[in-house]
């Protein structure tokens, strides 16, 4: 029970907030509960796609595969490839940062790894989810700009760190 509380602090905080607000403002809180539930039902199909697409990518674009791709890449081509690959990488930071660290140790250029980390901000499986909330024009523009900036960021990092 204590562990559950610890690992789901956020969920329990929201539940407790609802409990208090239900006593104080039952009608408004009910509307919030209804809206939140409708939002979940509306986003559920896309959310299911996100988790299954992410696990598909995780299997077929494993850290080993990425290392193989990035091992000998240099120059602008390597940086752009790094950025594009970065958008497809899925998983939590504590899996990815060690991967990027290994790439650097194995001699990958800072610009390539920097671009990858920059492009990691675009999480391809989540794009339709983002579009569900913000619309396709927004997410399209954001993706293009972030990808472009990732390449610039890679080169700037290399310049500043060398």
């Amino acid at each position: 029970m204590k562990n559950l509380l610890k690992s789901h602090t956020f969920e329990f905080t929201v539940a407790a907030t609802y409990g208090v607000l239900f006593v104080l403002y039952p009608q408004k809180t009910f509307i919030a509960l209804k809206d939140g539930t409708i939002l979940l039902l509306r986003m559920l199909p896309i959310f299911l796609c996100v988790v299954f697409f992410s696990s598909f990518i995780a299997l077929f674009l494993s850290p080993k595969t990425i290392q193989k791709y990035m091992g000998k890449q240099t120059g602008i081509k390597g940086v752009v490839l790094g950025a594009v690959l970065g958008t497809f990488i899925v998983g939590p930071l504590w899996v990815l940062f060690p991967l990027f660290g290994t790439l650097l140790k194995k001699g990958a250029r800072i610009s390539v790894v920097g671009a990858m980390i920059g492009a990691f901000a675009i999480k391809t499986p989540w794009i339709p989810y983002a579009a569900g909330f913000l619309g396709w024009p927004f997410i399209t523009v954001t993706v293009i700009l972030t990808l472009g900036y990732a390449v610039v960021e890679g080169f700037l990092m290399e310049k500043l760190l060398k």
Binding site: H8, F10, E11, V14, T17, Y18, Y25, K28, T29, I31, A32, L33, K34, D35, G36, T37, L39, L40, M43, P45, I46, F47, C49, V51, F52, F53, S54, S55, F56, A58, L59, L93, F97, F100, G101, L104, I117, G118, A121, K123, W126, P128, Y129, A131, G132, F133, L134, G135, P137, F138, V141, T142, L145, T146, Y149, E153, L156, M157, L160, L161
Partner: protein, 166 residues
């Protein structure tokens, strides 16, 4: 649009698993299992975020958001959004609905975009971990560049889509 997005995405997912099962049956199975496990793991959080968005929508008046993140605040709103987004952080599943509700409540597109970009690009909470792998200098340079990038990208997004930089 939402429906079509889901339909097309569904087709992509089904196609990718047909490919996976053809290539390696065990791998395909493992993917499905992993996906389902992630679904069950993330669902409570996602539902809680949506419920929180519901509360935000009902209880926070538009005027509050406008006074902090509205057009009238100028560049200060952008800076606030970047700082808050950098410090808070959290799963991506939460940032897009938060951005959407901020927009609905009167934040400008550029400000909401900066907030979401900073949230995703700058990792304040994960910094100690990042330092343990890359060293202080690398992490400092990366995060400063990410912070500046979050602002630039957000302002450009606002300019392109609404014609307003703030």
């Amino acid at each position: 649009m939402n429906v079509w997005g889901a339909v097309i995405y569904g087709i992509v997912v089904v196609a990718s698993y047909i490919y996976a099962f053809k290539k390696d049956k065990e791998k395909g199975k493992k993917g499905l299992q992993k996906g389902w496990k992630q679904f069950l793991k993330q669902l409570p959080f996602v539902f809680s975020i949506f419920l929180l968005i519901g509360l935000f929508d009902v209880f926070i008046p538009k005027s509050v958001v406008v006074s902090v993140l509205g057009r009238g605040r100028g560049f200060l709103a952008i800076l606030n959004a970047a700082l808050v987004g950098s410090v808070v952080g959290g799963p991506v599943s939460s940032v897009y609905p938060l951005g959407a509700v901020l927009l609905k409540k009167g934040a400008t597109l550029a400000v909401a975009a900066v907030f979401m970009n900073a949230w995703i690009m700058v990792g304040f909470i994960s910094m100690p971990f990042e330092i343990s792998i890359f060293g202080k200098k690398f992490v400092f340079v990366r995060n400063v560049l990410a912070f500046i990038g979050a602002i630039i990208i957000g302002i450009l997004t606002g300019l392109i889509l609404t014609g307003s930089a703030i």
